[in-house]
């Protein structure tokens, strides 16, 4: 009889374990941004000029009046195949504008129904105008949760 009771109790304990509550494990650092570092004469630098970046086709301000930045983090669009970013650089004696085109492929990334869906990107090509920007190189084409340096933006040593 003891055996029967033990069997029934253990049965319900098993059921409780199976139907028990659950936890949600979403990645905490779940922002997908493209990281661009600034260089002059081959060395990493802080840009003392005032920098504002807008998306050309929508006039959305992606970065507003940033000063003394050595790198920036920018969100790429989810559904465009090419993003057009306009760099507004304001120095003491000059105000320049450069345009940066970033071609990319984007793909979804999901973890769980409880977590927000993200979009990862793979940068395929970058080109720019050359008022203030000398050149742009791709160092890590994959833009995802890992905040690696994706682009190196080389400025002219002097804007004059």
């Amino acid at each position: 009889m003891k055996q029967g009771k033990g069997l029934i109790i253990a049965f319900f304990v098993t059921l409780a374990a199976l139907f028990g509550c659950d936890t949600i494990d979403c990645t905490l650092d779940n922002t997908v941004v493209m990281r661009c570092s600034f260089f002059k004469d081959g060395n990493a630098v802080q840009l003392h000029d005032l920098l504002t970046i807008t998306a050309n086709d929508t006039n959305i301000v992606l970065l507003n009046s940033q000063r003394d930045a050595s790198y920036i983090k920018l969100s790429l669009s989810y559904f465009n195949t090419e993003d057009t970013l306009v760099f507004h650089v304001t120095g003491d004696r000059y105000e320049l504008t450069d345009t940066l085109w970033i071609k990319k492929t984007s793909y979804n990334h999901f973890e769980s129904p409880d977590c927000p869906v993200n979009m990862f990107h793979h940068i395929t090509e970058v080109r720019s105008t050359h008022m203030y920007i000398d050149s742009v190189t791709i160092t890590q084409p994959d833009v995802n949760f890992a905040e690696h340096e994706n682009l190196q933006i080389h400025f002219y040593s002097s804007a004059d």
Partner: protein, 266 residues
């Protein structure tokens, strides 16, 4: 949650032991040798059906077939369908999959008596090929503000895993047996879409490196040991009769204690 499951398993193990060890002391019947092919069994998992019935977010519905060798070794084959439709708690995301899975393995009966009760330890190897869907109706670009419903269908996955089982089963009535087991599952191989891992793997459970599972099996055993003498059914008449016989045989004579007291105290 993992701690809760671990405690549940410890409780379960602690419940197994007294029932088995206690019984082995009481049963003083002579050992019966089981034949090499001691039986063939077919079972159905009631737990999976119950989970599906109560609308749980996932369920593994399965049947099994096994062969008994010497009442000790039970090579087993399990086949089932894993079903999951999961809505996000705070999102409108939906994950869904439904696919078959297979397990092969072996159980070993630790109980030395051939008395109808089996304390089983076992191992399984499971594998499944499946497709899964993921949809996010409100998928929005947070910076550019563009909303485009996301619907990913037919993403392919392939999983293999190892299971360690601990179970107990007893004879209910005639050839009908009821048993349950708990399983610790370890993923050995996974191949999924680069877009995202599945929330649920058929046969395995919630997708992780490891997880716990369990099943409650109603089995129909056909074979030489299915109705051996001395096997007790949990709800059979034979058990009551045997209990009353045992009580009559083991009951101490009523007059011994009072007489001894009389001799000592006068």
């Amino acid at each position: 949650m993992k701690i809760f499951r671990f405690i549940s398993i410890l409780l379960l193990i602690s419940l197994f032991s007294p029932a088995l060890w206690g019984q082995s002391k009481k049963d003083k019947q002579p050992r019966e040798k089981a034949p090499l092919l001691s039986g063939v069994g077919v079972g159905i998992d009631l737990c999976g059906l119950a989970m599906k019935g109560v609308g749980a977010r996932f369920a593994n519905m399965e049947i099994c077939g096994r062969v008994g060798l010497k009442e000790k070794f039970f090579p087993i084959f399990e086949i089932g369908i894993g079903d999951c439709t999961r809505n996000g708690g705070e999102t409108t995301n939906v994950f869904s999959t439904r696919a078959p899975y297979w397990r092969i393995g072996m159980d070993y009966n630790v109980n030395k008596k051939v008395n109808g009760n089996r304390f089983l330890v076992g191992v399984r190897y499971g594998f499944t090929n499946y497709k899964y869907d993921f949809s996010a109706p409100d998928f929005e670009d947070p910076v550019y503000g563009v909303v485009s419903p996301l619907r990913l269908e037919g993403l392919k996955g392939n999983n293999q895993w190892l299971e360690f089982c601990l179970g107990f089963e007893t004879r209910l009535w005639s050839i009908m047996r009821l048993g349950y087991n708990i399983r610790y599952k370890m993923r050995t191989l996974q191949s999924v879409s680069e877009l995202g891992e599945p929330y649920f793997v058929p046969g395995f459970g919630k997708n992780d490196n490891s997880c716990f599972g369990g099943s409650v099996y109603l089995t129909f055993d056909i074979g030489k040991t299915a109705n051996l003498k001395g096997q007790k059914s949990l709800f059979g008449k034979r058990k009551k009769k045997e209990e009353t016989k045992n009580k009559e045989q083991n009951a101490p004579p009523e007059d011994i204690a009072p007489r001894a007291a009389k001799r000592r105290g006068g």
